[in-house]
Every structure is written in structure tokens, then in C-alpha cells.
Amino acid sequence: MLLLLTLGIGTLTACGVWLLLRARSFDAILGLTLLSYAVNLFLFASGRPRVDAEPILDPGSVATLAQITDPLPQALVLTAIVIAFAMTALLLAIALRARAATGSDHVDGKEPR
């Protein structure tokens, strides 16, 4: 599972960075979205994810990280998802306005010569 997670993070980051560097506002937004997915998975991985561990405290078991998964990264990821989502929406609105005002979807507002 860890291999899958790592490969996923790597692929998403690579695609995100490549799209971000294309300097078109729509591509940049997609790139930032992919990058934020990669970051969310990375944050999730920072809690040393394990298969088959309890997510919630059970009154019968001992509450150590050997028994349960770490809940903090999940809270961090939730916060990061909310923020990234709101920021993407904001960027989308700004990019649309810029496209309407400048007539170009290049991030510089004009086509490169």
C-alpha cells in the first residue's frame, strides 16, 4: 500500500508541476489542484498510515499509536482540503475575470510572441 501511495504522490506532483509551468491559467489551475491532491496524500502519509488499525478509540483497547491510526494528520488533511478548495474557486473566478478583461488565457494577459 505504501508503494501505491508513494507512486500516487509522485505522479500527481509531477503532473501538477508540469501543468503549472505551462503558463495558461486553466492549466495552472488544474496543476494547482493536482498539486493539492498530492499534498493532501503526503500529509496523510505523514501519520505513518497502516492497514487494519482502528481509526477511533475503543474503550476496550489500549490507546497508543501501536493500536490505532494517528488521527491528527486526518484533521490536518481536512483543513487543507477545505482551504485548497476555497482557494481554487477563488482563483477560478479571478482567472475568468482576467480572461474577460485581457482576452487571453495566458497568465501574463497576452500571448507570447
Binding site: 503549472l20 491559467s25 495552472a28 494547482l32 498539486l35 493539492s36 498530492a38 499534498v39 493532501n40 503526503f42 500529509l43 502519509a45 505523514s46 501519520g47 505513518r48 491528527l72 494528520p73 490536518l76 483543513t79 487543507a80 482551504i83 485548497a84 476555497a86 482557494m87 481554487t88 477563488l90 482563483l91 479571478i94 482567472a95 475575470r97 482576467a98 478583461a101 485581457t102 497568465v107 501574463d108 494577459g109
Partner: protein, 525 residues
């Protein structure tokens, strides 16, 4: 009662006050009755003045030397989120409130009415700034960064008519750049949490000492990633190219408020290097890059074709000087840097407002070419001269003292000669750039019909003279200010006080215990 409130809830008030004011302003501004809408500027101004009062009170408390912790949610420190108020934080709060008051008064002269929700965004921006200066938790720092950035995106776009296209173009760059920065911030936080298992700054400072050798490389990578993100905010060399465009495109009061935004980056660098990682983690990158930033900012100031572009490069130059002080990291350079920070922030805000007035007197153009000037050169020229003296670092104003202190303190460090040469050369270049701009603007106005003097309100001169008085006060009260910044630098260096205060904070006894009550109810059944 006020003293009691400050003692128990002091550190959280600068966050709560703008939050409530901003929320109220959103509602008021979209109210159906014009009678209610008229209250918007008054509420905004009252909230900002109250914030200034609060900041003065908190600075007076922090000056004593105690770090005041605050447990949000009443959980003990490494588990819950903590705020902490120390001398550095209190100084930044006071500076933010001062600049905010001037920017808001200036905006009431007309800029605030040129678009929707200026006042609400302004308050949310203040909330983000204050939170970033107070938090003792790295993830919380990220959240407050996002709050202040989200508000700054809105403020940057604020204003109709002239320059709207430029603003949109600049804000696409600004937003994309900062969102990429936020991704790096989260990656750094993930690394730090994965290695140390905590994001509380004080707890992290303790855990850093006991880190196994295998993990210390990983932690160093995380630290450098974090510093990269802060360098984006603070405008360090390869990452400052967004700043001149963005700051030149923003409307004047927003530019003035943004003068404190680069200082958030500097603050964050100072906080994490002194408290957690030690400044060695950033040597030699930080001093070298800061010197290069300073050199390029001086060249940029010389090459600027617009007054606003020139002012934006002055901000970059001051950020370079500050990061130099942070990167050298001795107690003396930190104290000098903090002293310089006070003056440079106030004077940068003054410059943004002044540039707007000069452009208005020249019929809306800030192009550095001779043009007819309305109303004569006397009042604007005099302010220009004082502001130029303050920013270039010429005696007798505080910019000079800050730079002199920095040169004195940097002498014994290995970068000493470079610092002296770099800072002095940059000061000379800035002085030449300003002398050139001033003589074009005021001494050779071309003949022709003078533009009609803009219908300036009393708010504009009030805001500018307020900032001018603050700059002059920083010079007049240089002794006490230097004592305070020296004490703040000492407090940063002796980090045990901060760690003990945050980790030693005990949750307050709840006035009303839910669990107790539930137990009693179950017993009654």
C-alpha cells in the same frame, strides 16, 4: 475589568476583534437600509482604533518580559492549539495596528467606496496578520497565512476603473504563486510532523534536541522548505519577482497595508530560526541571498520608470536588509533588524500613500517624466524629502540608526565586510534613485495647463501626516525603542522562557463542566 480580561484572554483578542468586526461589516454592507450601510466606515474605523488601543496595552504587558500563553479550546499545550504573546509578537501587533489605522483613514478618503466589501476584507486581513504574529503552532500559522492571503487577494483586486486590467493580471500571478507556496508549506509541515510528531513550536523546539541523527537531515530539508515559503512572502531574491508588479498595481491604502505583509515573512523566518531550527540551518544561503536581494532591489529602484515601481523596490530593499539581519542571527543583528523593521514598515506605508497623492496632483500619472504639477511642490515635496531621508538611511531619522546598528552588530560576523559594503552601496543607490525621482517630480514640472487639483478630502493629509509623525517619533524615541528591540532580541535568543511558558500553561478550570453535569443527570435518573 479590562486588566482582568487582558490577563486571561489578552492574546486572543487581536484575532477575535477583527473577526467579529469583519463579520458584522459583511452584514452591514449588504443591509437593505441605507441608514445601516452608512455605519460601515464608522464601525470599521472604530474596530481598527480599538485594535490599536489593544495593541498598545498588549505591548505594555509584553514589555515586562513575560511570555503570555493562551490555550485555545482549553487543552494543554502540545495537544491543543496555543497562542503566545512575547515582545516580538507585541511589537508586530502594534506596528500592524498603526499601519492599518493610517491605511484605513486614507481609504475613507474615497478608495474604500470604489468597490464592494473593502472594510470587511480589511478586517479579515488584520485578523490573519494578528493571528500569524500570535500563534505558537506551525499548522495554525499556515491557516492564518491562508486567511491573510485570501483577504489580500480580494483587497488587491479592489478598485474600479483605472488600472483594473493591470490589477487582474498582477493578481493572477500573485494568487498562483502563493498557492504554489502554500503547497510547499504543507509538504514541509507533513515532513515535520512525520519526523517529530508535533507541530507545536515550543514542543518542536524541545524535540529537535533529541532527534536521532538519521532524521536530522529530513528535518533540515523540512526547515529549508519552510524557509523557502517564508522567503516567498518576504520577497527574497529568486522569489521576489511577483512583488513589484503586485504592489505597484494595488490601490494606495492596500499597498500601505501590504507594507506589513512582507514583514510577516520576515517575522516567520525570525520565529522558526530562533525558536526551532537555529539560524545555522539557513547559513550561508540566507545572508548571501539577502545581500543579492538588496543589490538587485537597488538596481530596480534605479531603473524604475514609475514612482510606484520605485516604491515597490524600496519594499524589496528593506526586506533584503531585514532578512540579512535574520540570517546573521546574532543577538545584536536581531536587535538592529527589529529596530530597522519598525522604521521601514512605517516609511513604506507612508511611501505608498504619498505616491498616490503625487500621482493625483499630476493628473493621475506616476510616470517619472516631467509633467505639470497641480498645487505647487511645497507640501508634497517636503513630505517626499522627509520620507526619502527616512527610507534611504540618512541621519537624523531612524532609518539611519537602524542601518548603523546593523553594520555595528554585523562587523564581527564572518559576513561583516560584505554586509557593510552591500548595505552602504544599496543605500547610496536608493538615495540616487530618490533624488532623481524627486527632481523630476518637483523641480522640473513641464509648463502647460496644470491638472485640476484633485478633490482630496481631509482624510488623505490626515493619514499621511499621521504616518509622518509616527516616523519622526521612531527617530525621537530611538533610545526606548532600541532598548525594547534589544530586549525582544534577547528574548528570542533565550528561548527557554517561551518554551516554558507555552508548555507550562495549564488549562483554566471550566466555569461550567459539561461532563460533570451529564454525570449528575445520569445519577438523578
Amino acid at each position: 475589568m479590562t486588566a482582568g480580561l487582558l490577563a486571561t484572554h489578552g492574546p486572543v483578542l487581536p484575532v477575535v476583534l477583527p473577526l467579529l468586526a469583519g463579520a458584522a461589516l459583511v452584514l452591514l454592507e449588504s443591509a437593505r437600509w441605507p441608514a445601516l450601510r452608512r455605519w460601515v466606515p464608522r464601525v470599521s474605523l472604530a474596530a481598527t482604533l480599538l485594535l490599536l488601543l489593544l495593541a498598545v496595552q498588549l505591548a505594555a504587558r509584553a514589555a515586562g518580559g513575560d511570555v503570555q500563553p493562551y490555550l485555545l479550546g482549553n487543552w494543554p499545550a502540545p495537544y491543543g492549539i496555543a497562542l503566545a504573546l512575547d515582545r516580538l509578537g507585541a511589537l508586530m501587533l502594534l506596528l500592524t495596528a498603526l499601519v492599518a489605522c493610517a491605511a484605513l483613514v486614507y481609504a475613507l478618503g474615497g478608495d474604500a467606496a470604489r468597490g464592494l466589501h473593502f472594510h470587511a476584507l480589511f478586517q479579515f486581513q488584520l485578523m490573519g496578520l494578528n493571528g500569524a504574529f500570535l500563534t505558537a503552532d506551525l499548522f495554525n500559522l499556515f491557516v492564518f497565512f491562508e486567511v491573510l492571503l485570501a483577504a489580500s487577494y480580494g483587497l488587491l483586486l479592489h478598485g474600479r476603473g483605472a488600472g483594473q486590467r493591470e490589477r487582474l493580471r498582477a493578481s493572477v500571478h500573485y494568487v498562483i504563486f502563493n498557492l504554489a507556496g502554500s503547497s510547499l508549506f504543507l509538504i514541509a509541515l507533513g515532513l515535520i510532523y512525520g519526523v517529530a510528531g508535533t507541530l507545536n513550536m515550543a514542543d518542536l523546539a524541545v524535540k529537535m534536541a533529541a532527534l536521532p541523527a538519521a532524521d536530522s537531515r529530513l528535518m533540515q530539508a523540512a526547515a529549508l522548505l519552510l524557509l523557502t515559503v517564508f522567503a516567498v512572502k518576504a520577497a527574497l531574491l529568486p522569489l521576489y519577482f511577483w512583488l513589484p508588479d503586485t504592489y505597484a498595481a494595488a490601490s494606495a491604502p492596500v499597498g500601505a497595508l501590504f507594507a506589513i505583509m512582507t514583514k510577516v515573512g520576515v517575522y516567520a523566518v525570525l520565529r522558526v530560526t530562533t525558536l526551532i531550527f537555529g539560524h545555522e540551518v539557513a547559513t550561508p544561503f540566507l545572508p548571501v541571498l539577502a545581500l543579492a536581494t538588496l543589490a538587485l532591489a537597488a538596481v530596480g529602484a534605479l531603473a524604475a520608470t514609475h514612482l510606484r515601481g520605485l516604491v515597490a523596490y524600496l519594499v524589496v530593499a528593506s526586506a533584503g536588509t531585514l532578512l540579512l539581519a535574520a540570517g546573521l542571527g546574532t543577538e545584536g543583528t536581531l536587535a538592529a533588524g527589529l529596530f530597522y523593521l519598525v522604521n521601514s514598515t512605517l516609511v513604506a506605508a507612508l511611501w505608498f500613500l504619498l505616491a498616490d497623492r503625487i500621482a493625483a496632483a499630476r493628473g493621475g500619472s506616476d510616470l517619472l517624466q516631467s509633467r505639470p504639477l497641480a498645487g505647487g511642490w511645497a507640501p508634497l515635496g517636503a513630505v517626499f524629502f522627509i520620507a526619502a531621508v527616512a527610507v534611504a538611511g540618512v541621519p537624523p531619522l531612524a532609518g539611519f540608526m537602524g542601518k548603523a546598528l546593523l553594520l555595528q552588530a554585523a562587523g564581527p560576523t564572518p559576513f561583516g565586510p560584505w554586509v557593510v559594503a552591500g548595505v552602504l552601496a544599496a543605500s547610496l543607490a536608493v538615495m540616487v534613485a530618490l533624488a532623481r525621482a524627486g527632481s523630476i517630480l518637483f523641480w522640473e514640472p513641464s509648463r502647460g495647463p496644470a491638472p485640476t487639483a484633485s478633490s482630496g478630502t481631509a482624510a488623505h493629509p490626515l493619514a499621511i501626516s499621521g504616518l509622518l509623525v509616527a516616523v519622526l517619533c521612531a527617530a525621537a524615541a530611538a533610545g526606548p525603542l532600541a532598548t525594547y528591540t534589544g530586549a525582544a532580541a534577547r528574548q528570542l535568543q533565550q528561548r527557554d522562557g517561551y518554551i516554558a511558558a507555552v508548555l507550562g500553561a495549564r488549562p483554566a478550570a471550566p466555569a461550567w463542566d459539561l461532563r460533570q453535569e451529564m454525570r449528575e443527570r445520569q445519577g438523578a435518573k
